[in-house]
Amino acid sequence: MNKRLPSTVFFTRLASVITTLFGISIFVFIVLRVIPGDSITGSLGIETGALTPEQIESLRAYYGIDKSLFGQYFSWMGSFLTGDFGFAYSNGVSVLELTKSALPVTIQLALFGTIFGVILGISVGMFSASKPGSVRDFAGQFFGLLALAVPGFVLATTLVTVMANVFGYFPNGFEYMSPWEDPWMNFQQMMFPSLVLGIAVAAPVMRTTRSALLETVDKDFIRTAHGKGVKHRVVQFKHVLRNSLIPIVTMTGIQFGYLLGGAVITEKIFAMPGMGRQILDAINKREYATVQSSVMIFAIMFVLINLITDIIYRRIDPRIK
């Protein structure tokens, strides 16, 4: 950790992070138990009615739902903390195995989406802020508003329709390839979903960039820089953008966190075997351990991203203690 962070502050933060994660684990656990049906009805459907009481009893023992709620919670927590994340019955492997293949897909998708969104958002934001109140400002803001308002699933559906039917090009129709198996195919399959996610990220990044830039431009040191004859372009990037970065980084961190969890719909439309689909399937099948552990993984990543944004702050702005 950062040396400038006093250890008491660090430990208070650590304690609050741990209680939050603990709260989340209990919250998911309860929400799942409230859903009607259990692992047995989830895997057998209406055939459950034909089971004898003895069969139901042994199935309950098999799925581990014969224990008390406390017992279930602690046995799951135990397997989560020791690292195999519990057992996914319908897949016949541990949740760790499932996550190993699904998590990289989601992280790659979120990373591509965020990078694309940040580049697009900052560019449009700078373009907009360069001449406030002008036609280009209006165009930039209009783009930001549309990117915010058009739902991802509309954009995705439109892209799929146009690409597949007009251009006859639809890489996501093929089996998913990891970047190690077939990097070129993987890139093509990542392209459209990242584009959809990136546009969603670009909207808030663009708005934040624009307002942060407009605020910084009025500062005295910018006028000084112009006054001493620094080139306009250099002032724009080295003075204005650099000093507007903090809110932009915050917004990017928040958006990246949302992308990790919020890509459910996009993953589904583009048939990407990521965490979102894993959770969606698991909720339908009442795979308790899978849902609980996946949500915990999301939550831990969310908390980590917050921490990383905090560290980046200190890098950008040494004044922050």
């Binding site: 209680t19 709260g23 058009v150 739902p151 559906t157 799929v160 597949a164 459910v264 959770i279 908390v303």
Partner: protein, 280 residues
């Protein structure tokens, strides 16, 4: 000189006025649909006229069962608006009360409220709504409740922040010394002074609620066929859009107009309620 009201400032904001008009149009459409005033019955199938393009009789064309898309869009907008209004009302009420009470009393209660909102915040919104709708059921009230839970923490934060500084102000100390009851201090003296950010948040949250509602129904949760919902219509259009663009275009347009409108209203409110941003 007469003091200007916030509304006269609001009317000066171009985005606020445009947004207001868009939202009014969508509200009117919803009310018309609630009164049963639609060009056709949104549920009646007419196989002979299936997948007709936009025409004088069917302005937005027809879907795969020959149902009028304009009527279904109106009906879907009514559902989205209903869910959005109910969900955000619940979230505002619960969130603001928890935020003000937590911020005012501090200590243990506040710690609990903050921790609770952190827990829900760290949850991806759509997943949380998905799990809750899964457990509650598919009626509009279940969807509203799920969305309300997701958006409550935002209101907790928005209300709690300003309370922390306002409660230290002299006028609050004064009314407390005068012996006003705590609820009176909280809701008659503190609430009005922390209201502007909450009002802005209501407009923005309503737009997100419409997006979440349509996202859920796109995934097959919430409104079930044959009832109309904008998300469901987009989902059904996935297999039709290639040869019948209107099945995808119009429901998408309705969602977008509603969300753009509410966002612009939020911008307009921000410009008119924040004295620092009032131009001239």
């Amino acid at each position: 000189m007469k003091e200007k009201t916030w509304f006269s400032y609001y009317l000066k904001s171009i985005s606020g006025v445009i947004g207001g008009i868009l939202v009014l149009v969508m509200f009117t459409i919803s009310i018309l649909s609630a009164l049963g005033i639609t060009p056709h019955d949104p549920l009646i199938q007419d196989p002979v006229n299936a997948l007709q393009g936009p025409s004088a009789q069917y302005w937005f064309g027809t879907d795969q069962f020959g149902r009028d898309i304009l009527s279904r869009c109106m009906d879907g907008m009514r559902r989205s608006m209903l869910v959005s209004v109910v969900a955000v009302s619940i979230a505002t009420l619960v969130g603001v009360i928890l935020g003000i009470v937590g911020g005012y009393f501090g200590k243990f209660l506040d710690g609990f409220v903050v921790r609770f909102s952190d827990v829900i915040f760290a949850f991806p919104a759509i997943l949380l709504a998905l799990a809750i709708v899964n457990s509650l059921g598919n009626s509009w009230i279940d969807t509203s409740l799920a969305i309300a839970v997701v958006y409550t923490p935002i209101f907790i934060r928005v209300a709690r922040g300003p309370v922390l500084s306002v409660k230290e102000m002299d006028y609050v100390k004064a009314v407390r010394i005068l012996g006003f009851s705590t609820p009176k201090v909280l809701f008659s003296h503190i609430l009005p002074n922390v209201l502007p950010p909450i009002v802005i948040q209501v407009a923005l949250s309503m737009s997100w609620a419409i997006l979440t509602e349509s996202g859920l129904s796109f995934l097959g949760l919430g409104t079930q066929p044959p009832d109309a919902s904008l998300g469901l219509m987009v989902s059904e259009a996935q297999s039709l859009a290639a040869f019948a663009w209107w099945t995808l275009a119009f429901p998408s347009l309705f969602i977008t107009i509603a969300v753009v409108g509410l966002n612009l209203v939020g911008d307009g409110l921000r410009d008119s309620l924040d004295p620092a941003r009032r131009s001239s």
